[in-house]
């Protein structure tokens, strides 16, 4: 009786801590998307909401296609991606060694951790005026803002990843004759690498948030600028397109990193 078994399976995945059913779960995920689209189409189609507040999905998609075909828009996208990656790489290159050192030497941790923790709680948008005063409205002020938004968070995540490496790994390395540098390079970094890549992935997502702040406030290029300009002229479908573009870029880069993570760390499986 496949029909009743199917019904039971659907019911089962809504019971507390049920075993996974990847096939059914995919359908639920797709269903949720479809549901949102249907509700969206209905509210716009029936005129419940004015199109200048919420354009129909079709209007958004056609605006998006129009924009994507425009070379200028693509340039803006590339500018934004370049800013995010530049800031992200600078943050990572600085945060990884510092995080590892902070967790490895109590003195370095004691000096840097309270300071970093303090800066971490500063609201990044509040620092925009300062970056503008110090660095002007060029690229450096935007990258600086993204760097402030990510570096201080990332360094603490990295330090935590390093601290979670079992003491036994380090002591094993020591009793096999490894010195401090060898321990950090051959044991600590290798052991923390899977978690570290996750920390980097999460931080990359934050970069996009701060990018928008930077581009909306003081910029004449980038997706954020485009989005803000569209708003000024009341082009709501273009605003939605901008949001969609950022969402897609975020989704794709996240999935790519996840995929590489699975490939690179197959030994964990």
């Amino acid at each position: 009786m496949p029909a009743s078994r199917d019904r039971a399976a659907w019911r089962d995945i809504f019971t507390f801590r049920a075993p996974p059913r990847a096939d059914l779960e995919v359908w639920l995920g797709i269903g949720a998307f479809v549901f949102v689209l249907v509700v969206w189409t209905l509210t716009t189609g029936l005129g419940i909401v004015q199109p200048q507040f919420l354009p129909s999905p079709l209007a958004v998609v056609s605006a998006w296609i129009r924009l994507i075909e425009d070379a200028d828009y693509l340039t803006h996208i590339w500018i934004s991606i370049a800013r995010v990656w530049a800031a992200f790489l600078i943050s990572a290159v600085m945060a990884i060694p510092l995080g590892v050192l902070m967790s490895s030497y109590r003195g370095i941790g004691a000096v840097s951790e309270p300071l970093i923790d303090f800066v971490r709680y500063l609201p990044v948008p509040a620092l925009v005026p300062l970056t503008l005063i110090w660095l002007g409205i060029g690229e450096s002020s935007k990258i600086a803002l993204l760097w402030i938004g990510t570096f201080f968070q990332l360094v603490l995540l990295i330090a935590d990843d390093a601290r979670r490496v079992p003491k036994e790994f380090i002591e094993t390395g020591r009793t096999l004759g490894a010195g401090d540098v060898a321990l950090m390079k051959d044991v600590l970094l290798r052991a923390m690498l899977p978690n570290m890549v996750d920390s980097l992935r999460i931080t990359l997502g934050w970069c996009w948030t701060y990018l928008l702040v930077a581009e909306i406030v003081a910029s004449n290029s980038g997706i954020g600028y485009e989005l803000w300009t569209a708003r000024r002229y009341g082009k709501t479908p273009e605003v939605f397109s901008g949001i969609l573009t950022i969402g897609l870029i975020g989704l794709i880069s996240d999935q790519v990193i996840r995929f590489l993570h699975r490939r690179a760390f197959r030994y964990l499986g």
Partner: protein, 272 residues
């Protein structure tokens, strides 16, 4: 064999732990023990008694508060390749294969060419019977195999003394039995001096030439049992049934049990 001829010598060794309020807890009382070369010494005692701390001081992973440990007349001043360590868990690196882990034991040997390192690593993988699993990652093999990897890696580094901190504690009874037998074989082949910490009295009697029974914290020697005087050198699983084995087992167990009851009574008195 005492005095200057000892292979490992504890000289008035003490350890005091200080908590964050600088409250001092003595963990090890002045301890003087001599261990002969090739001896298999097992430390037993009530849980939390400080036996592991004593062993870690031999390994240089813990610094004595006063006193010192000498190995071949040399004072222990920190961890090194001479003092190989096998832990209960997280012993092997998941990012390396079985062979890669064993080869890691030789990574910091500058005196050996790579081909020689490969040869030695393969030899020890073979010695613990894991050659068919050479290319397996650690998470793909069982807990028992992981401990064999850790033992092979430590032996490959050719230490003067093998320090084992409850290495079979997390394994099931059958696997533990098999690894105990295998450890004795390895040890007979390699002629290593071993210090082995366990809370399993059966394991202690079965493996050891000598058992040192520690008191509750702070650790002092309750009794120094010469197992080799009562049990034959060659051990098989059948030995567990012999009267000599049972007598030793009973004796050691009684000592630990009394000690645990005594400390519990003291704790109850202190709490009420």
């Amino acid at each position: 064999m005492a005095g200057n001829g000892a292979f490992i010598e504890f000289q008035e060794l003490t350890k005091v732990f200080h908590d964050h309020r600088n409250h001092a807890t003595p963990v090890v009382e002045p301890l003087s023990i001599s261990i002969a070369e090739g001896e298999f010494v097992v430390f037993v005692g009530p849980s939390g008694c400080g036996k592991t701390t004593v062993m870690r001081m031999v390994g240089g992973l813990e610094t004595p508060t006063t006193g010192r440990v000498l190995i071949k007349g040399q004072e222990v001043e920190g961890p090194s390749r001479e003092k190989g360590m096998v832990f209960q868990s997280y012993s092997s690196f998941p990012w390396l294969t079985v062979l890669g882990n064993v080869r890691f034991g030789l990574k910091y040997r500058r005196d050996l060419p790579d081909t020689e390192k490969d040869r030695i690593a393969r030899h020890y993988v073979d010695l613990v019977g894991l050659t068919p699993f050479s290319d397996y990652y650690i998470n793909r093999i069982s807990g028992g195999m992981r401990q064999r990897v850790a033992i092979a890696r430590t032996l490959a580094a050719d230490p003067l003394v093998l320090l084992m901190d409850e290495p079979f504690g997390a394994l099931d009874a059958l696997t533990r039995e098999r690894l105990q037998l295998q450890l004795l074989q390895l040890r007979n082949a390699e002629r290593k001096t071993v210090i082995f910490v366990t809370h399993d009295v059966d394991e202690a009697v079965f493996l050891s030439d000598r058992i040192i029974v520690f008191s509750a914290r702070p650790a002092r020697v309750l009794r120094d049992v010469q197992v080799s005087a009562e049990l034959p050198r060659e051990r098989t699983m059948e030995i567990v049934e012999t009267p000599a084995f049972r007598k030793l087992r009973r004796e050691v167990l009684a000592l630990i049990r009394d000690e645990e009851l005594r400390t519990e009574a003291a704790e109850v008195a202190a709490a009420s």
